[in-house]
Amino acid sequence: MVKMGKQNKIKRILSVRGMGQVITVTIGLIILCIVFSIVNPIFFSGKNIANLLRQIAPILIIGIGQSYVLITGNIDLSIGSVVGMSCMISATMMTKGVNPWAAVFITFICCLTVGLLNGELVSKCKLPPFIATLGTMTIARGIAQIVNNNYNTGSIGEKAKGFRNFFYYGKTAGLYNAIWITIVMWIVFNFLLSKTRTGRHIYAIGSNVDAARLSGVNVHSTTIKAYMVSAICACTVGLMTCATTGMGTMDAGNSYEMYAVAASVIGGVSTLGGQGLLLGTVVGASIWGVLQNGLQFAGAPVAIRNITIGIIVVVSVLLDVVVRTGKHRKRKAS
């Protein structure tokens, strides 16, 4: 056994769950940025960076939610539909003259109900999370459609100007509010996950649910909390979408659940649970956003975008698996 000095402390931080993956991917992100800047110098202009950050924002927020759920060893496929639901419910109410902030409040309640339902189905009813949230995904999309009677809403109007500025268009201290919201949410949820008891329990049930239960962790309420966080994140993105477009779109958030999985997984969150850092999710979401933005500036057609993204998802997880198996072998042999 070796005594650990200060230089080893750095080493230790690097060896924290998933930190290796975060670093690998950060390097990948930097390379991507350099490549895109060379291909088209506009990519690295100040204007585009502000813009890019605002594009990363929604992906990162849903990525945070999905990361919470993935770390507990489950999955949330309903995210995209909850985004749509949130967008439609808030917009419909605003077009009907409801005060924007009241509408926001009610929207949160509705979305949290979906989160609660997900948690109950998975944790109490023991449905496989994939199926439970596939079901709620379809139902939530149906609600998004029915809420304004199968049509997108009209404009949410002038009265909602404050709402739109708050969630997307306004700037505070030189930075778009959408970015501020993302930063605040990240700080809050990162704090919850890394510094509180609930956060610890989320990791524990994802790592070994039986051990966690034997240690007195309330698996049921912890699972529900994770799904609630996911619903809050999806709801926020839905409101952001509503603020962005100034109307309710029934299709809003389509396939966002998959983007969220991709952002989380690229950032080193394990789909098997127990492992992952929200720092990684930032990098994962950034890679996703940079790819979309950079490939567009590089003039790449959609097809190339898809192929590149697919390969990056597979390779980043493959890397992770290879690294972990390597470690595991070493451990077993020692």
């Binding site: 610890r200 451990r331 077993k332 020692s334």
Partner: protein, 506 residues
């Protein structure tokens, strides 16, 4: 000092098909170390799990510090000051040592986890255990023995008054065991009551005050350790009429079937040499964790071999995966039936057919369901498996009957060698005899039988020759006539300097 801190009265508990505890009473005083002894499956762990609220009792009374506790659960047990180190590791491998130690009762300040405080507390505990381990290391990166130490540290950290240790030393090194004993002595002085479960009887004299013995789920007796002797304890533990229970037949020893030469596979299989002849059953005895299972797995091709040869009927055979072994005629009845033996969601018919599909299928790989059904029915009637129908899920059978299915699926094909790893674990006495008879049948047919078991009486009762393993090595080979439990235990505890010579059991 004489005050009972735990009293269990008339506790019973049954699992599907097994009466694990039958009207058991048990007590523990403060400031004593009580050894809870019994064979595998005697019900020790079950009793302790009931005490610590993991299982709920079917009937009986639990009194803690004189108070009757009605509905015990894990959380309540913790609050009452009961801590348990489980037989199996129960850790979150992704979390750090300190995080595991404080899981479920994290230290917080202003709603925030105080990591530094937990780390320093953990460090203190680890230090008192004399473990040189950083509290921020990830548990999954630790060796099994270190993980076991974390489990111990976790239990100690709760400052419990009642501490249960279910085979804490099975994975520890000699030094770690010594440190643990020091801790136990210290806790004893502080007035803790400790229940200590172990199969390593040589450890007892260092720490134990009293022993309580269970057998087949029943309370046998309790006595002060000083007033008894190990042979007496063993006889209470084993305590049944061995002759009737172990049907023995004699065959002529024929030609050599299997030869294992210099087999190495990981730390638990070191330089294994063994021979197996027609018409004999070779028993492999040893303590828990002696490396017997790993040896059989290496022979069967589940785990990779580092070196060594397998020679079957004089020819060296290449076995890289179980498929190779099966096609060569070597089959394994694995130890862990839930994990390795059964597809619990499939029917009995499917399970029995699975390894025999080459026989059942016609040329194009199409299943002949008539042959399949006949095979399954034959296995069921031969082994007297109790089931409503061969189409029911394997998971719906009782443990013993599941075990019979696991055994039965390997007996429908012409094999040269059948390896049984703990085939009688968790099954009732009558079923055991049926399995012995099966092994005898194979022996008569000239098939080589390797029989791994932790129950010494059955090894002695059934085998023609006994190989004893300890710590991944073969430490002795005995003819049945010269074997006694004492001698086997001596060989089975020949650790490489794991414990000083003078403290070893003689």
């Amino acid at each position: 000092m004489d005050e009972y801190i735990v009293e269990l009265e008339h506790v019973s508990k049954s699992f599907p098909g097994v009466l694990a505890l039958d009207d058991v009473s048990f007590d523990l005083k403060s400031g004593e170390v009580l050894a809870l002894l019994g064979e595998n499956g005697a019900g020790k762990s079950t009793l302790m799990k009931i005490l610590s609220g993991v299982y709920t009792k079917d009937s009986g009374i639990i009194k803690i510090f004189g108070q009757v506790v009605d509905s015990m659960n894990a959380k309540k047990a913790g609050e009452l000051g009961i801590a348990i180190i489980h037989q199996e590791l129960n850790l979150c491998s992704h979390l750090t040592v300190a995080q595991n130690i404080f899981l479920g009762r994290e230290i917080t300040g202003h709603g925030m986890l105080s990591s530094s405080k937990m780390n320093s507390e953990a460090k203190k505990i680890l230090k008192s255990l004399n473990i040189d381990m950083e509290p921020e290391m990830i548990v999954g990166d630790l060796s099994v023995s270190k993980q076991q130490m974390v489990e111990i540290a976790k239990a100690l950290s709760s400052n419990s008054k009642i501490l249960i240790m279910d085979e804490p030393t099975s994975a520890l090194t000699a030094k770690e065991i010594e440190d643990l004993f020091l801790i136990i002595k210290k806790l004893k002085k502080e007035g803790c009551g400790i229940v200590y479960i172990s199969h390593r009887l040589e450890e007892l004299e260092h720490i134990v005050d009293r022993v309580t013995i269970l057998r087949d789920g029943q309370y046998i007796n309790s006595m002060n350790f000083k007033e008894t002797s190990l042979p007496e304890i063993i006889s209470f533990m084993v305590g049944r009429n061995i002759k009737e229970k172990f049907p023995r037949i004699t065959c002529k020893k024929g030609k050599k079937i299997l030869e294992v030469r210099k087999l190495n596979a990981g730390p638990m299989v070191r330089d294994i040499n063994l021979d197996l002849y027609e018409g004999e059953i070779v028993g492999i005895a040893g303590l828990m964790g002696a490396g017997r299972t790993e040896t059989t797995r290496a022979i069967f091709g589940i785990d990779a071999k580092e070196s060594g040869d397998i020679i079957l009927d004089g020819k060296t055979v290449k076995i890289e995966k179980p498929m190779d072994a099966i096609s060569q005629g070597i089959v394994l009845v694995p130890e862990d039936r839930k994990k390795d033996g059964l597809c619990t969601k499939l029917s009995i018919r499917d399970n029995i057919a699975l390894p025999n599909l080459d026989i059942i299928c016609q040329k194009a790989g199409i299943i002949n369901s008539k042959i399949e059904r006949e095979m399954a029915n034959k296995a069921v009637s031969d082994l007297k498996i109790k089931l409503p129908d061969i189409e029911v899920n394997a998971g719906s059978l009782s443990g013993g009957n599941q075990q019979k299915v696991v055994v039965g699926k390997w007996l429908r094909r012409k094999s040269r060698v059948v390896i049984f790893d703990e085939p009688t674990r968790g099954i009732d006495v009558a079923a055991k005899v049926e399995i012995y008879n099966l092994m005898n049948d194979l022996k008569e047919q000239g098939i080589g039988v390797l029989f791994v078991s932790s129950e010494l009486p059955e090894v002695i009762g059934i085998s023609d020759r006994i190989i004893v393993m300890c710590d991944g090595k073969i430490t002795g080979e005995l003819k049945t006539e010269e074997a006694t439990q004492d001698i086997i235990l001596q060989y089975a505890t020949r650790f490489d300097k794991k414990i000083d010579k003078d403290v070893q059991y003689k």
